[in-house]
């Protein structure tokens, strides 16, 4: 105990009390009387300094902020996604504005055509920016919806076991048996290509199985723990145990999984749209842009910019996801990749 505190005191600067803005966790006091810190802290206290009490989340945040690649990824992601969210203000033109006097112009600052124009004179920079918006909406929506489904199914299967559990494991087996992309394509053919929401729902309905398995595993091992038994003895109902006592332990994997799901969803949406089974053309999508660029292979900017945007987004999300994994899920920590 003393050693671990000393070790953190070595790396973390000890701040004076006045600047301490952290709330002490409840176990630091008993009936308002502070418990004396143990061991190696005495010397620090003698010098009139106090060690900050940190919660798990606090440590996680510090680990995340120290992860250099993750911070770079986060900054890039904020810039790119910010451009997508504020597309109306950033894009110099609308995504569908046609200028027949300025067809397939290469990238230039004249008239703010930073990424040039396409075959019917639409500003390519604006189209890519609006494409980012579509991609991020699809990615975030799929991540949230699939996490929710995965969480609920995984929690029920892991906590109650039995039929639900069996059904879940068989369904995941089923999803694993079939070629993922082929099933997505078939499902899109069934529902018809269309709005990004339809595509997102199809993706989410096939994405939840991975997370459900993870959540199920955690619930399965935690429901046997003594603290759950104690909660039961104290009269807590199933819902309370599931959501108050076990769920917080699954948040780390859920956040990591959800982050990486955004990247996967963006990649798969782009592939579907590229093949013509995703988002319908008037909505700009990065996959559709690359697909349309096939008609003009000599105009490199038409292929390069939307594709490069996908690569940058996915790279940034993967970096952030790795940082989050290291920060939130120390048990799963792997060697630095």
């Amino acid at each position: 105990m003393g050693i671990s505190i000393r070790a953190s005191a070595m790396t973390d600067p000890i701040t004076p009390v006045s600047e301490d803005r952290e709330v002490a966790p409840p176990q630091q006091t008993v009936d308002g009387v502070p418990i004396a810190p143990v061991g190696g802290l005495d010397t620090a206290l003698d010098q009139g300094l106090e060690v900050k009490a940190r919660s798990q989340w606090n440590y996680a945040r510090r680990r995340f902020v120290r992860h250099r690649l993750a911070m770079v990824g986060l900054v890039v992601l904020i810039i790119v996604f910010g451009a997508g969210i504020f597309a109306n203000y950033i894009a110099p033109y609308s995504f569908s504005e046609i200028d027949l006097t300025n067809l397939i112009s290469p990238p230039t600052t004249v008239g703010h055509h930073f990424f040039g124009t396409d075959a019917i004179g639409r500003d390519y920079f604006s189209r890519v920016i609006y494409g980012i918006r579509t991609s991020e909406e699809v990615g975030v929506f799929v991540a949230i919806l699939s996490s929710l489904i995965g969480l609920v199914v995984g929690a029920i299967a892991g906590y109650y076991g039995g039929v639900v559990d069996n059904l879940l494991m068989r369904t995941t087996d089923l999803v694993l048996t079939l070629p993922f992309l082929a099933i997505l394509l078939t499902a899109s053919a069934l529902l018809g290509q269309g709005s990004q929401w339809r595509v997102s729902i199809i993706l989410a309905l096939l994405f939840w199985t991975g997370l459900a398995r993870v959540v199920r595993g955690i619930f399965l091992s935690l429901r046997e723990k003594e603290y759950v038994e104690a909660a039961k003895a104290a009269g807590a109902g199933d819902a309370r145990i599931m959501f108050r006592h076990i769920l917080p332990n699954t948040l780390g994997p859920i956040i990591v999984n959800g982050t990486l799901a955004v990247a996967t969803a963006i990649l798969i949406e782009a592939a579907l749209s590229f093949l013509g089974f995703g988002i319908k053309p008037p909505t700009p999508s990065l996959g559709v842009l690359v697909s349309d660029a096939q008609a003009n292979p000599q105009q490199w900017w038409l292929t390069v910019f939307p594709g490069l945007t996908i690569v940058i987004i996915v790279l940034a999300i993967n970096f952030v996801g790795d940082g989050l994994r290291d920060a939130l899920d120390p048990t799963q920590r792997r060697v630095r990749a």
């Binding site: 694993l176 993922f180 992309l181 082929a182 690359v290 690569v311 790279l315 990749a337």
Partner: protein, 321 residues
């Protein structure tokens, strides 16, 4: 071991039945196969009705599924609803082409991935390690279709600019050239390259991580302590144990690979099974789409089984009974 294999095969039968039934319902609902014929005014209504009756299209979907299963065994996957041609020859032909591409690209990717993975693990945090790690991160983030298109554009440009034909950028063969010719190699080089880069990213990263997992284990330290050479320690004690997870990853990668094949073959207009599937799906050719789904599902199940068996064989700690 034998009982394990038998049990796994028996277990995969209901999975296969259920998954094909689900896909059958999906694909049947997706479109009316005779819609194309209905649109043609020169085909009399009686003919269309006859076609519907012959193919049991007027029956309910579960009944049609039973007929389809019968055709699957008695007529080798049955006939196409649009061209009335047997499906089996198409499947074997396209699957052969795809197999050629996949085998070459996977062999390259596995060998390269293992070598690069080992090198970057034993020189962890060196310049070489950083370069190869960045490369594999890039491979993870790269959309397959974009990589394929970039390669295509690059080689079209080379051809147009200097009039040198290094690789062909679409198709499978020039007229009159065979399966095992330089011409074929020039045609499939770019699809092979695309798939290889994508898979390489996966293998090199896994290999590196799995080497690093093993490299600090006690028995490796013991091996060093008793004075074995570095080469001996790495090859005999680390490499062989680090290889186990790669075998599984390689076998389980087949599902993702079949997805990548759909995209790559479409970009390069290669007459493989992925391109075949996409065309049939666009046309709404029910039985051809189903044939693809069954064949790929069987392939994936077989590879999963191979992964499990190999894993048990390579790692004696795992027992199947």
């Amino acid at each position: 071991m034998l009982t394990f294999i038998v049990r796994r095969i028996l277990y995969s039968i209901p999975v296969l039945i259920f998954s094909t039934f689900l896909s059958f319902v999906f694909v049947s609902l997706a479109g009316n196969p005779v819609a194309l014929l209905n649109g043609n005014p020169r085909i009399p209504k009686n003919t269309i009705h006859l076609i519907e009756v012959q193919n049991h299209l007027n029956r309910s979907i579960p009944v049609r599924y039973v007929f389809w299963v019968r055709d699957l065994f008695t007529h080798k996957l049955g006939n196409s609803l649009l061209t009335f041609q047997p499906i089996w020859p198409d499947i074997t032909r396209t699957l052969g082409h795809t197999a050629q591409v996949i085998i070459i690209s996977e062999t390259l990717a596995i060998v390269l991935g293992i070598v690069i993975g080992i090198l970057s693990a034993i020189r962890q945090y060196s310049v070489f390690d950083y370069i190869s790690t960045s490369f594999s991160f890039l491979g993870f983030a790269m959309p397959t279709f974009w990589l394929a298109l970039l390669l295509q554009i690059l080689f079209v440009d080379i051809y147009l600019k200097w009039n040198v034909r290094i690789f062909y950028t679409s198709g499978l063969n020039s007229p009159g050239q065979g399966t095992w010719s330089l011409d074929r190699l020039q045609h499939i080089a770019l699809p092979v390259m695309t798939l290889c880069i994508i898979s390489f990213a996966v293998y090199s990263r896994y290999m590196r991580a799995s080497m690093l997992d093993v490299i600090n284990i006690d028995y490796v330290r013991t091996a060093r302590a008793k004075g074995l050479s570095d080469w001996h320690v790495i090859m005999r004690h680390v490499f062989r144990n680090a290889l186990i997870p790669i075998v599984t990853v390689a076998a389980l990668n087949i599902g993702g690979l079949l997805g990548g094949v759909i995209i790559t073959e479409t970009v390069f207009s290669l007459d493989g099974i992925g391109f075949y599937f996409l065309q049939k799906l666009q046309n709404g050719d029910l039985y051809a789409v189903m044939a693809y789904l069954v064949v790929t599902a069987v392939i994936i199940i077989v590879f999963n089984l191979i992964a499990d068996i190999l894993y048990g064989y390579l790692d004696p700690r795992i027992r199947y009974d």
